[in-house]
């Protein structure tokens, strides 16, 4: 017979694992996207910035995926999770798998994401699980730098030339539908919030909106209208973009299993 408390502990370890995977996958996929800019950014300084932000995100991801692997207890490690899972096993936000397109598009995606991550980490540092709390407190300091970079460029290009303004508004309009998912709780988010592991995402929406609207105003960009249609990356539903991204990211481990640097 299973005791009630044993069931509870097991459930909460599984929630931790799923939550670690959701956040870890999100950081990993965005890091890979930012890495695509290396050698291609408009200026050396921007190249370095995008690579550095990507590196911080890889740091977050390694920590979270290691934790997920540990909780899973099947002998897999962070590399197995990153390089040997199929697209349908990834729980990242849809926004982060969106292709880079041009520099402005990348900046809009980054800005919307950074604003969300700031709100999330500010709350997650009070998680009942010290592993999440520690990471959030550490990463928050880095995220402040990321947000300053993406905010600076968003304002500069939004309130720039006619051409840069037009393109930034276009990217914002195109990406907006994917922002619904940032604060729309998945089953994992709900379960994690219920046991004090993670903040209630509903409490993020107001402050995320306020933060974003303030900067959009300064950037002379128009906040798009919210649409009912939204994506479900956190529920493992992805489009073709993620498959292509993973094909490139995973090719070495898929072709030469177990290979090391």
């Amino acid at each position: 017979m299973t005791s009630g408390s044993a069931v509870l502990i097991e459930a909460s370890s599984d929630i931790k694992r799923r939550y670690a995977l959701q956040l870890g996958d999100t950081s990993l996929i965005l890091a890979q996207r930012l890495g695509e800019w290396i050698g291609h950014a408009p200026a050396l300084e921007e190249d370095l910035a995008l690579a550095n932000i990507g590196l911080d995100l890889i740091g977050q991801s390694r920590y979270l995926l290691s934790y997920a692997a540990e909780l899973e207890g099947r002998g897999r490690d962070e590399d197995d999770l990153a390089f040997l899972r199929d697209p349908a096993d990834f729980a990242n936000l849809t926004l982060v798998e969106e292709p880079n397109l041009d520099f402005g598009h990348t900046i809009v995606r980054q800005f919307l994401f950074d604003a969300w991550q700031l709100e999330l980490f500010e709350r997650l540092q009070y998680s009942c699980d010290p592993r999440f709390a520690e990471l959030a407190a550490k990463a928050l300091k880095e995220t402040l730098y990321h947000a300053r970079f993406s905010t600076g460029w968003l304002v500069r290009l939004g309130d720039g030339t006619e051409e840069s303004h037009r393109r930034m508004q276009g990217s914002l309009d195109a990406l907006w539908k994917l922002t619904h998912e940032l604060c729309a709780p998945s089953d994992t988010d709900r379960a994690a919030a219920a046991c004090g592991l993670a903040p209630d995402l509903a409490t993020l929406r107001g402050s995320w909106n306020a933060r974003v609207e303030r900067v959009l105003n300064e950037a002379t960009l128009r906040r798009p209208v919210d649409v009912a249609y939204h994506w479900h990356g956190k529920r493992f539903q992805h489009g073709e973009h993620l498959s292509r991204l993973l094909a490139e990211m995973q090719i070495m481990q898929r072709s030469y299993p177990g290979s090391q640097w």
Partner: protein, 149 residues
């Protein structure tokens, strides 16, 4: 080996990216615990979560103690998060002499070469996660700034 001796030997391990600094003055060594069975556990904090130097530092520490016969385990400590405020004063002067402006809570970052306060930030991100790029308006030299975090 006494705990004090372990600290002394740790001060011989350089940071792989800024080799004029050792890991103790960088403020990343959190604790040294002698385990009683001739071993020691050393707590080390990463400066940035994704800093690739972290693994090199862990390895350097283990390698450094290998010849001493002390069985060293390196533990990564995330909390409380490392702060550039923990960099020792001695290290700040070394950084400046090396051409890197040390971290400071001030609006303007003086040039490490000529001391001028007229400097401009070129990029918030530099060659390593911990540094930003600046330029001196007086001597016109670009320089790196160790970011405040």
């Amino acid at each position: 080996m006494l705990e004090r001796e372990v600290w002394q030997r740790l001060a011989e391990v350089p940071d792989p990216e800024i080799p004029i600094l050792n890991v103790v003055e960088l403020g990343i060594i959190r604790y040294v615990r002698l385990t009683g069975d001739g071993g020691a556990e050393i707590g080390v904090s990463p400066t940035y979560t994704g800093c690739p130097a972290t693994e090199v530092i862990h390895r350097s520490i283990r390698d450094h103690f290998r010849s001493s016969g002390l069985d060293v385990t390196v533990k990564s400590v995330l909390s409380p998060a490392w702060s550039s405020d923990w960099i020792a004063d001695s290290a700040r002067n070394k950084l400046r002499d090396y051409g890197i402006a040390p971290p400071q809570h001030a609006a303007c970052i003086p040039c490490p070469r000529c001391g001028s306060h007229g400097t401009t930030r070129i990029s918030e991100f530099g060659s390593t996660p911990c540094k930003a790029l600046h330029r001196c308006n007086e001597c016109l030299e670009p320089f790196e700034y160790f970011k405040c975090i």
